[in-house]
């Protein structure tokens, strides 16, 4: 066994193929032997999902990092899976374009990695997730067979959408080797407007009012807990306040100026106070901090509590944030309130964690039509598949049938996702 270069993966070896053909050969060999395969890219999100129980082969995509084709006027780009998000962003910015998906640690995170894990960040409210930008994809399935989906065009009604099927599948249907992305023009500028809120009712009032706002928010963020009490960019939270609302705005200079003025006026009329404005380059670090929140270890010492990703309807966000703070008054929470996605960092007694998640959190969420997944387990915890991913959905049989078709021996990221490893 190797010396844990990629905790928590138990790797017997790490191989770095140079191209898709080599990836296919590698997976085909592993399929023959029934060896689990754990794809690795930037290594920024290896704690997502269950830690694998069985030793296996680390498959690094670092050698596949080319820009294959970039016809900028088409607003599409084709890249290999191992290209980092930062390198992609730099290349696109050179043409005044971007992929408007927020990613933590972009200098290490890769295109393949974010397609496999589909992260959620502040700008998904207006711009969607990576799912909305993958128009073509190549991968190697669990038997070592290469396959592709989609193409190079932004509208394509031919056949099944294999791009969407593979996106967010945690590499369990195929090892992604190449992706064609749709891109957007870079906005001229951005800004963030923030206000402190005295209580949950004030929060819901402003969030409900945003349904009919004249501005076009890129992000609507509700911040709660110690992580936000003293923010270097936003300043300290007011004494009487317990929550903060931050709205992100993007567009031309004229549009953003107009929106800032308009939103301030809408908030003033609703009785909101203590507004802070961050414009342009000063806004970028805060957008990035919002994207990195689920991955920030507390106090920077590496150990972390539970990090959960909760999905509810937007109208239920405030109620859920309130109940999270009842469960853990020291929780730090970032709610992407526009889209209904909540990231929570909770400190629970390790022995009690499964009971709290399965006995309190999940039932609460289910009654609001929502669900949650564990993004990161507390140090030393050994949560079950049900606790990390939730109980099997009614559609599980259909999903398992698809999984079995693409990975008959169940070697791809074995045991880490919702699929129960079967005997080989």
């Amino acid at each position: 066994m190797m010396d844990d270069p990629y905790p928590p993966l138990p790797l017997t070896d790490v191989l770095e193929p140079a191209d898709q053909t080599a990836v296919a050969e590698l997976v085909e060999r592993a399929h023959r032997d029934g060896t689990p395969v754990y794809p690795i890219s930037g290594g920024t999100n290896l704690h997502y999902g269950l830690p694998p129980a069985e030793p296996g082969l680390g498959l690094s995509l670092a050698g596949l990092d080319r820009v294959v084709d970039y016809p900028a006027r088409d607003l599409t780009i084709t890249v290999e899976a191992g290209l980092t998000i930062a390198a992609l962003a730099k290349r696109l910015a050179g043409e005044g374009q971007r992929l408007p998906v927020d990613v933590a640690h972009p200098e290490r995170a890769t295109v393949g990695g974010i397609v496999a894990t589909c992260p959620v960040g502040p700008r998904h409210y207006r711009w969607g997730t990576i799912r909305d930008y993958v128009i073509g994809l190549s991968a190697v399935d669990g038997s070592g067979a290469g396959f592709s989906g989609g193409g190079r065009v932004v509208k394509n009604a031919a056949g099944y959408d294999l791009c969407r099927l593979v996106t967010g599948s945690l590499g369990t249907l195929g090892v992604i080797t190449q992706v064609t992305l749709m891109v957007k023009p870079l906005p001229e500028t951005s800004a963030l407007l923030a206000c402190d809120l005295s209580d949950f009712d004030a929060a819901e009032k402003l969030l409900a009012a945003l349904v009919h706002t004249q501005v076009l928010p890129s992000a609507i963020e509700l911040l709660a807990g110690p992580a936000w009490k003293e923010d270097s960019l936003l300043g300290p939270l007011a004494e009487s306040a317990s929550l903060r609302l931050v709205v992100g705005l993007e567009g031309t200079l004229a549009e953003v100026e107009w929106m800032l003025a308009r939103l301030q006026e809408e908030w003033r009329q609703a009785g909101a106070a203590a507004m802070v404005r961050l414009r342009g380059l000063r806004a970028d670090p805060l957008f990035q901090r919002l994207a990195e929140f689920p991955f920030d270890a507390e106090g920077g010492n590496g150990a972390s509590g539970l990090v959960a990703q909760i999905h509810v309807l937007p109208g239920s966000v405030v109620g859920v944030v309130r109940s999270l703070l009842e469960i853990d008054p020291a929780a730090s929470i970032l709610a992407h309130a526009g889209g209904g996605v909540i990231h929570a960092r909770l400190h629970l007694n390790p022995e009690k964690t499964p009971a709290v998640i399965d006995g309190r959190l999940r039932p609460n969420l289910a009654s609001a039509g929502g669900s949650m997944v564990v993004l990161r387990q507390p140090e030393g915890a050994l949560l079950s598949r049900q606790t990390v991913w939730g109980p099997p959905r009614p559609s599980h049989a259909a999903m398992q049938a698809i999984k079995d078709q693409f990975d008959p021996k169940g070697i791809l990221n074995r045991g880490r996702f919702v699929f129960t490893p079967k005997d080989r």
């Binding site: 374009q97 349904v211 009919h212």
Partner: protein
């Protein structure tokens, strides 16, 4: 498998749905033997009209027991034969399930039964400050379920995307008769079955309800008409506008041939001597529109536009759109029969594909007029012929296939929004490698193992 009118299955279906929910006499069935793709016909064995998801599920279970295929159908506006009951079977009409169940502005969604018409939903949302973005040209007749089946597009996809970008959740009946709900809250603990079902043309499940995303109404619009001397000038202008980072809500191109038809039919006052006209619509914040509009005007004039006319009132805006939306309906002026094709290329290849289409038409002696969602590289060449003349029909079919192959060669696809249906099955192995089709077959094998859900569609392998 063909079934007789008096068969046990028909009796069981009548028992489940009531006599008025089942059609089985030949004179009734003939109505359902084709859809908007009129070239091919196939007689169903029975047509049923369930009124609830439970009834749809029961129909599927009954048909499974008798090993009869099931062909879901909404309004039957498919242009690719997606509703063709190949080999007979039961056509399952979703049209009696047409209630809008919920409009929830706080959560920016609406819940509709699959048989709700696209335009019906749009009308119900008027005045709420929100709308349902996908507006295919068929919207007056097509159902939301049908829009989901083909991942329908329309003129506003350039800025707002296609149907899948506006589906938050689905309720569907699977091939085994079980009912699943996906969404409306996203669920990362599993595969994106919503993404797979949208655009699957009824071959993986029967969608019974849809949670749709609602989009805020734009604050304002600027709608323009630019007149160009050549098609190349028009398509180059479109390309440059996008290259300048301006994303209009829509950019619709009409060539001289189709404009002649529109003028003959409606007399809107469009010039008959322009090779290409582009209707461009900007929408969004008033604070940003003037700047974008000026940029568009500059670019059009750079490409020798002889006129860039802006709609000054809501009425003028409506008129510009009417011309575009009714263009296909006017084609009857030009020819007794026509076939509207659907091809797509990377947007910068639009000038090339329109040139190739013109050349193909000339070579085969087939008159072709064009409308295009120019910003997306999505062309709708309309091939004109007289279906009573077999030789003309043959030439039109050949020309149609050749232009689709040209789309593939240009790096595009054989369908942007109409779907594969039966019409384009033969092109699937030109568009996709064997390994890629095999991957799609695997998805179908997982969800439709007996191949009884809408057989003979989308994938060439049996």
């Amino acid at each position: 498998m063909t079934i007789a009118a008096g068969s046990p299955l028909v009796a069981e279906l009548r028992h489940c749905l009531g006599r008025e929910g089942v059609l089985s006499s030949p004179s009734d069935l003939v109505v359902y033997e084709c859809d908007g793709y009129t070239i091919e016909k196939a007689r169903p064995d029975v047509v049923v009209f369930p009124r609830s998801t439970q009834e749809v599920a029961e129909v599927v279970r009954l048909c499974n027991r008798h090993k009869v295929s099931v062909v879901p159908r909404g309004a039957g506006t498919s242009l690719a034969g997606g509703c063709l009951p190949i080999g007979g079977g039961a056509v399952v009409m979703l049209t009696r399930m047409k209630r809008i169940l919920q409009i929830d502005l706080r959560n920016r969604l609406a819940l509709v039964e699959a048989g709700v018409l696209n335009l019906q939903l749009t009308r119900a949302l008027a005045g709420t400050g929100y709308h349902f973005a996908p507006d295919p040209s068929s919207q007056g007749a097509s159902t939301i379920g049908g829009n989901v089946a083909t991942n329908a597009g329309g003129p506003h996809t350039l800025k707002y995307g296609v149907t899948v970008n506006h589906v938050l959740g689905l309720e569907a009946v699977l091939g085994d008769g079980s009912i699943v709900q996906l969404g409306p809250v996203p669920d990362p603990a599993g595969l994106d079955l919503i993404g797979v079902l949208v655009g699957s043309e009824g071959t993986l499940a029967i969608v019974t309800k849809v949670w749709v995303r609602l989009t805020p109404d734009p604050q304002d619009y600027r709608t323009m008409r630019a007149i160009f001397a050549t098609v190349d000038d028009a398509t180059n202008a479109v390309s440059d506008i996008i290259g300048a980072g301006v994303i209009p809500a829509a950019m619709e191109l009409m060539d001289r041939g189709i404009v002649a038809a529109v003028e003959a039919a409606y007399h809107f006052g469009f010039p008959l001597d322009a090779e290409a006209i582009v209707v461009i619509e900007l929408d969004g914040l008033r604070a940003g529109l003037d700047e974008q509009q000026q940029r568009i005007g500059q670019i059009c004039r750079k490409w020798h536009a002889r006129e860039v006319l802006q709609a000054a009132t809501a009425k003028e805006r409506e008129l510009l759109w009417k011309c575009r939306k009714m263009a296909v309906g006017a084609v009857g002026r030009l020819s007794p029969s026509y076939c509207i094709q659907d091809g797509v290329v990377p947007r910068t290849r639009l000038p090339h594909i329109l040139r190739r289409i013109a050349e193909i038409g000339r070579r085969h002696g087939v008159r072709i007029v064009n409308v295009a969602h120019a910003g997306d590289g999505n062309v709708h060449p309309i091939l004109l012929f007289d279906e009573r003349d077999k030789e003309q029909v043959a030439r039109a079919v050949t020309a149609g296939n050749e232009l689709l192959e040209e789309c593939i060669r240009a790096g595009g696809s054989v369908t942007a929004e109409h779907g594969i249906g039966v019409e384009k099955i033969a092109l699937m192995d030109r568009l996709f490698a064997a390994a890629d089709l095999a991957a799609m077959v695997r998805v179908r094998r997982a969800m439709n193992p007996h191949n009884r859900l809408n057989p003979g569609k989308v994938l060439p392998t049996g």
